[in-house]
């Protein structure tokens, strides 16, 4: 039963990820992106990472994508970059990187530490919160400070001084 759910969600995710890349209209592309985020949330739920799924929906699928949509829908259409053929040189350069990355990730999934489940965690929300605010408190705070700096910088760059 589990493989069926995973197959459906996985197919959905791959199809929408390909859609993001291959669709020419930027708004259609963002719709595929949204669909891939929803599929990802579904996969998180099926793997038992409920908190991650909820956060994925509420922060990624809503808050962040709404910003993308705002930006993309307000771009003047005559300035949108048109399709100009496949980038052959870039394709050749990136192919080995892609293969190496895939092999690395496949190795991690099959043989690495992630391959052995630690045991069933009952209250996902509580456990994630505890880990985040005890073992990983410092990285967590650093990440939030970086985000804050980025936000202040973006406001500074985007703001036009009056007068």
């Amino acid at each position: 039963m589990e493989w069926l759910i995973f197959a459906v969600l996985g197919t959905w995710l791959i199809v929408s990820a390909l859609g993001v890349v291959f669709v020419k209209n930027p708004v259609h592309s963002i719709l595929f992106f949204l669909s891939s985020l929803l599929a990802m949330a579904g996969i998180f739920i099926s793997l038992g990472a409920e908190l991650l799924a909820g956060i994925q929906l509420i922060i990624y699928a809503v808050a962040i994508v709404v910003f993308y949509v705002l930006v993309i829908t307000t771009i003047p259409w005559e300035k949108v970059k048109r399709f100009e053929g496949f980038y052959k040189k870039e394709l050749i350069i990136s192919a080995p990187a892609l293969v190496i990355l895939f092999i690395l990730m496949a190795y991690m999934v099959l043989k690495g530490k992630f391959a052995t489940p630690v045991g069933v965690i009952k209250d996902n929300v509580r456990e994630v919160g505890k880990t985040l605010f005890t073992s990983y408190l410092f990285p967590f705070e650093v990440a939030s400070v970086i985000l804050l700096v980025a936000m202040v910088g973006a406001i500074l760059l985007g703001r036009r001084e009056e007068g």
């Binding site: 719709l31 949204l34 909820g54 929906l57 809503v62 808050a63 829908t73």
Partner: protein, 336 residues
């Protein structure tokens, strides 16, 4: 395998009960709203079709369904249709995490009248509530019309602002209850014997603001301000395609968010046993309907804010108040 089949069957039955009832109630809310609006404005409201105009929603539905289907010139047809789905589906999914009453036993099987009792129910509720914004945004974009598009952009700005406030306002309740599950929050209130509105009155007021903003009700309905935008994002939709938007946004969303508010602040199905075994369900529906009524009442009483005021209120007033409320609650919970 049999266990799984049985639980799937039970879920299917729940879905088949809740969705038609919710859609029917939403349709009749249009009648109720028009009656209410009529009486608030010293008119009679619908009176002609059926006794007290009771058949008016059916007449409306027939009218909408038989209208000519028009697609505006230059519209993005797939997105134009997809937008209807994107408005309706999250609103219906919202109903999945609403606990309509306490669990009961049938033939040795414990059944909870909630479609999915997950322990991230509240997160899901807010996610679905905000996901419905895509219906608004893409309907405006796909219609290829300036009015519709301005409406969508306004809605997007509102959602971004109020989403944040909504999240922070309910964190206080989550701290008090110690869980994100809707059933768990109601049980915590029953166990403590106090509704959380007593501890969190500020959070409730903030929630109310956000509920109005998310469902696009007055005074936050700038996305469709009739006077300037000729009803905004859905102006290029006709027939039942048009009907789907208010149904999702104004009725389904309001019902579901009111039900979540009842769960968070009014003790869910808690109440005196006046009707025997069905009194919890009665109390839940009664409280939900009272909140829906309050929202409709506001809708026909208040004027609308200006577009720039709405986001300013959210970022400059509501968000600091919500943060302060959260910090105070956290300190109090930690100390006692």
């Amino acid at each position: 395998m049999q266990e799984l089949g049985l639980s799937l069957l039970i879920t299917l039955i729940k879905v088949l009960i809740i969705i038609p009832v919710a859609l029917g109630v939403s349709a009749y809310l249009t009648w109720f709203e028009r009656k209410l609006a009529g009486h608030i404005q010293n008119r009679l409201g619908p009176t002609v079709v059926g006794p007290f105009g009771l058949l008016q929603p059916i007449a409306d539905a027939i009218k909408l369904a038989t209208k000519e289907s028009i697609i505006p010139k230059g519209a993005d047809v797939p997105v134009y249709y997809l937008a209807i789905l994107m408005a309706l589906v999250p609103s219906i999914l919202l109903l999945a995490v609403v606990p309509w009453g306490p669990g009961f036993q049938i033939a040795g099987k414990y059944i909870e009248p909630i479609i999915s009792d997950v322990n991230i129910a509240l997160l899901l509720a807010f996610a679905f509530g905000s996901l419905s914004v895509y219906g608004t945004i893409f309907s405006g974009w796909a219609s290829n019309s300036k009015y519709a598009f301005i409406g969508s952009l306004r809605k997007a700005a509102v959602i971004i602002a109020y989403e944040v406030v909504l999240g922070f306002s309910v964190l206080g309740v989550i701290l008090l209850a110690g869980t994100l599950s809707t059933v768990g929050i109601v049980e915590a209130q029953i166990q403590k014997g106090v509704w959380f509105i007593v501890y969190q009155p500020v959070a409730f007021i903030l929630y109310l603001y956000c509920m109005l903003a998310e469902s696009g009700r007055v005074p936050f309905d700038i996305q469709e301000a009739e006077a300037e935008l000729v009803t905004g994002y859905n102006v290029e939709y006709g027939g039942m395609k048009f009907g789907a938007f208010p149904l999702a946004e104004w009725y389904l969303n309001v019902i579901a968010l009111s039900a979540i508010a009842v769960v968070l602040f009014f003790g869910g199905w808690d109440g005196p046993q006046i009707l025997g075994p069905i009194s919890p369900y009665f109390w839940f529906l009664f409280k939900t309907f009272a909140l829906v009524f309050f929202v409709l009442w506001l809708h026909w009483t208040l004027p609308r804010f200006q577009a720039k005021d709405i986001t300013e209120i959210a970022w400059k007033i509501l968000l600091p108040v919500a943060l302060l409320n959260l910090i105070i609650t956290a300190v109090v919970v930690y100390l006692f």
